[in-house]
């Protein structure tokens, strides 16, 4: 009966544009898979119960918690992490703004912040500071006090809309 269930699952997905085939343990979450199997250590593991946002990655176009998705569920998925978004220059303006505005100190939260912020920016309009705060409310930063992060995201939104300079 229970042989219908597997403790190792074959998955085939793309990560940062590259095809990946793997056999993953049933209980392994995406971040352990990315970090331990693929060596992509950009997305961080912290609380592992969805509260801190350090593990935020892009799956099929959406920013999601990597710790709350099993690698087994990623069959057929298109996954992007901060490494791929960096290599393709997709978020270089956002990364530059984070540096310019001091929006990171230790940098632990930054990969997750960038993926979450990019999701909001990709909607195209210029969000208010309150909207930026709300969108990033699920991403903890223990260093910056958030103000600089909001500044950075706001300046990129304005920059992309051609209404200001980043």
């Amino acid at each position: 009966m229970t042989e219908m269930f597997r403790d190792k699952i074959d998955v085939s997905l793309t990560v940062n544009g590259e095809p990946v085939e793997a056999r993953v343990p049933a209980g392994q979450h995406m971040i352990d898979f990315l970090r331990l199997e693929l060596g992509l250590t950009g997305a961080h593991v912290s609380c592992e119960h969805g509260v801190c946002g350090a593990c935020t990655i892009r799956v099929d176009g959406d920013a999601v918690r990597g710790c709350l998705m099993l690698a087994a569920q990623a069959d057929g998925a298109e996954v992007w992490t901060v490494e791929g978004l960096t290599d393709t220059n997709a978020i270089s303006d956002l990364q530059d703004a984070f540096v310019a505005r001091n929006a990171l100190q230790c940098g632990f939260c930054t990969p997750g912040m960038l993926v979450a912020a990019e999701e909001l920016l990709s909607k195209g309009d210029v969000p208010s500071r309150a909207e930026i705060r709300e969108h990033l409310s699920g991403n903890y930063c223990r260093c910056t006090g958030y103000e600089a992060i909001i500044d950075a995201v706001e300046s990129v939104a304005q920059g992309r809309a051609g209404k200001g300079k980043t």
Binding site: M1, H29, A72, E119, E134
Partner: protein, 277 residues
């Protein structure tokens, strides 16, 4: 901590999922958005489950209106419910609720059916279902069942669903002309579970009030509803605080929760008057 799962299987259809559950010797556990279940697995609150992943079953996702009934598939994600124009038109309470549920990244994967089946006493959707008079639809080895919201939520994390059943959708009557639906809650930070929350629906037939995070399951405040129908707000506020038996915990004392329930009712009624003026 690291999760321990007993095994995993991807269900291709509702029938396949039911077969998997039936073949799991009672160890089967439905995996939808994973936003509660995988967190519990990572914390080892749930160990050794045989996971039946229903997240790829497309027939369980989506929103349709027909003949005065709105049907929302169990796998419809919070973000999809929140963005749906059809939901905004016919059940604005649910649109409102989504903005209070967790954070954007969690709303991108969490499903409405998962939130209903999980039955967290502090969750928004179960209380909305009560206030709107919704019906839960399930499939199981013995066939389909339709369970009114009032009979569905039983205890903390416990519903009328049997272990071998799957929640497939929720149906509700579409909002009437002039109907008003309001959700009010108090949480310490954006995205936190509510300390107390309240739904108020005003229809031609009268008021409906439900509360969440005030006990082991969401409740309909029937005495307060009758007081509102009679136009007596003070009596309704008194009733709403005495109809609940909230817990004291690290988040809030029972007395504070009772007080908040009254405050939220006043806020909701004030919005109702503003909206209909």
């Amino acid at each position: 901590m690291k999760a321990s799962a007993g095994g995993y299987a991807r269900a291709e259809s509702v029938g396949h999922a039911l077969d998997l559950l039936a073949g799991s010797d009672g160890q089967g556990r439905v995996l939808a958005g994973g936003q509660s279940l995988i967190a519990a697995m990572n914390m080892r609150l749930s160990v050794g489950d045989l996971l039946v992943d229903i997240s790829k079953i497309s027939e369980l996702s989506g929103v349709i209106v027909s003949g005065g009934t709105l049907r929302i598939g169990a796998l419809t994600r919070h973000a999809q419910v929140g963005a749906s124009q059809v939901v905004r038109t016919h059940a604005p309470l649910l649109t409102d609720a989504v903005s209070h549920i967790a954070h954007a990244a969690i709303r991108n994967r969490g499903t409405m059916g998962g939130a209903l089946a999980h039955a967290d006493p502090a969750a928004e959707f179960p209380a909305c279902a009560l206030a709107l008079g919704a019906t839960m639809h399930s499939e199981g080895p013995e066939g389909a069942r339709a369970i009114p919201a009032e009979d569905f939520f039983e205890e903390v994390f416990t519903t009328a669903l049997k272990e071998d059943e799957i929640l497939t959708s929720m149906t509700l009557p579409v909002a009437e002309e002039g109907e008003v639906q309001i959700l009010e809650e108090v949480a310490r930070r954006s995205g936190d579970y509510a300390l107390v929350g309240l739904c108020l629906v005003k229809r031609a037939s009268g008021h409906r009030v439900s509360l969440f995070s005030v006990g082991p399951k969401p409740i309909l405040a029937t005495v307060a509803m009758a007081a509102l129908d009679a136009g007596d707000l003070e009596a309704a506020v008194d009733a709403v605080s005495s109809e609940i038996d909230p817990p004291s915990d690290t988040q809030a004392s029972a007395a504070y929760r009772r007080h908040l329930a009254g405050v939220l009712l006043r806020r909701a009624v004030a919005r109702l008057k503003g909206d209909t003026a």
